[in-house]
Symmetry: C2
Subunit: 324 residues, 2 copies
Amino acid sequence: MNITILGSGAWGTSLGRLLCLNGQSVTVWGLPEELAEMSRTSRNERGLPGVLLPPEMKFEADWGRAMLDAECVVVAVPSKVFREVTQDLFRYNGVVVSVTKGIEYDTGLTMTGILRQQAPHARAVALSGPTFALEVAKDMPTAIVAASTDLEAAQAVQQLFHRPTFRVYTSGDPLGVELGGAVKNVVAIAAGVGDGLGFGDNSKAALVTRGIVEMRRLGMACGAQGETFGGLSGIGDLTVTCFSRLSRNRAFGEKLGRGESLEKILAESKVLAEGYPTARSAWQLAKNHKVATPIIDEAYQLLYEGKNVARALLDLTSRESKPE
Amino acid sequence: MNITILGSGAWGTSLGRLLCLNGQSVTVWGLPEELAEMSRTSRNERGLPGVLLPPEMKFEADWGRAMLDAECVVVAVPSKVFREVTQDLFRYNGVVVSVTKGIEYDTGLTMTGILRQQAPHARAVALSGPTFALEVAKDMPTAIVAASTDLEAAQAVQQLFHRPTFRVYTSGDPLGVELGGAVKNVVAIAAGVGDGLGFGDNSKAALVTRGIVEMRRLGMACGAQGETFGGLSGIGDLTVTCFSRLSRNRAFGEKLGRGESLEKILAESKVLAEGYPTARSAWQLAKNHKVATPIIDEAYQLLYEGKNVARALLDLTSRESKPE
């Protein structure tokens, strides 16, 4: 099958490699300089250091040409450009897989929500879970969820991506899967702040426990299913993002906790930590749905209102709310 | 209040220190050589390196004398000696707090279950959560659960232990709290095996997600409440034990995964990883209740039946069961 990956970052490239290994015909579209580099070296050294890409992987910098014969599209771009990148999909009626984790600020929509507007005839599937791109590119055992209200489309995605080291499960709750994947990045920033301040693992465990409750509460208020947050895309993704040294969002928070300024961190980030924009979107979403979200609130205040990080985390720690 | 701590290890000493800071009169009973060392140096250097113990903390090697005026007893000994250490509590009618995480093999009882037999007139409370002893001894923020079918007793324990950096919540489900705390050590051994084999964080996230499902399923079959496993003593304790470098049970598994022999690891362990005996007890418990527990089963086979560790983890990874 002809599959077009929109996005030339680590995750898009890693999934493109995997689809090539599964015998699919893969074309990657993205930033021209990244495509040229990958085409020339067969590597994405910044995103996937040490990984050799399959020789049959194709690169195409022109969006229209990249999409020409696409039977399936995978969107793997940062959430802030998701709407723009998918703007010409209005007539597309194949399967579109979103692997982007975020919430649009203006609309409160997840990525498949944006797809419903941008590509109303497409069959949208969210593919999300605890999946560091580099580990997937090294064929380390990974499990992930393909979620769609169109169960056949979710099963088609499962078939396309499934490998012995990449187990794909299906879910009928894309909203829950996407909200879990997005909001966990905000909790991970808070976890990282704790790391930077030297708060320790006991404190992080309490944060994770409260985090999953908060994610579920917000998700259910938005119409997601509560049990989804107990799965791979909820608890699984949250725990690994809060504890792993590989997590970009946790590392972002750790720098803040150590006293680096937000401006400096943002200026030095080659890839923006998705938890940063998501903190604002999730805060807005919670406000609209009148849901209590202490972790998101503190993250929002320290990221957007200049609140002192130590004060924010101490306020969070001292709130009397029962964590279970 | 006069409080006697039975157990001179890291956790008993750390909690004793905390109770002293809360103004309680604390006597620690335990191994004579450990008590003598603490009495002489005001430190428990092996268990709590760098921590100075309060000068008012008392040490008593004679069980009867240690218990003489006890208005509350905290039992902090390894599970394998819990029954023996509590054998003379038959007439005791005060509050007994178990902070030991384990399941008795012969009976399938948790520690408060043993207390119901050994101290039928006492008010048993389980105190459990994601709590590394050293972090508590350094006043790093920590949250924990006091659980009892006697809610007043749980609240009394909450009052005794609560501090700004040590938040105690209450629960009416001691069985769920204790089974979570015990079984998570078995999952942590499996997580450590994965670390030793180089499986990565994606794989660990999937294991943790399945682990909490398995813990809940076994717990509910034994009569515990499902939601307890979503709290601090369940998800909270499981995640930190599987991910933290401080976890003894994870480290035990990591050595196995790296190829060290079980005999060597057991011989060199100064303190036994509780997950080792618990793997056998939990396996037995699951068999008796006819509950499917793939993680516990693989841990049991590699620890007690000589199964190759890589084989055990691969078998676990390749099982088709849905992780959520």
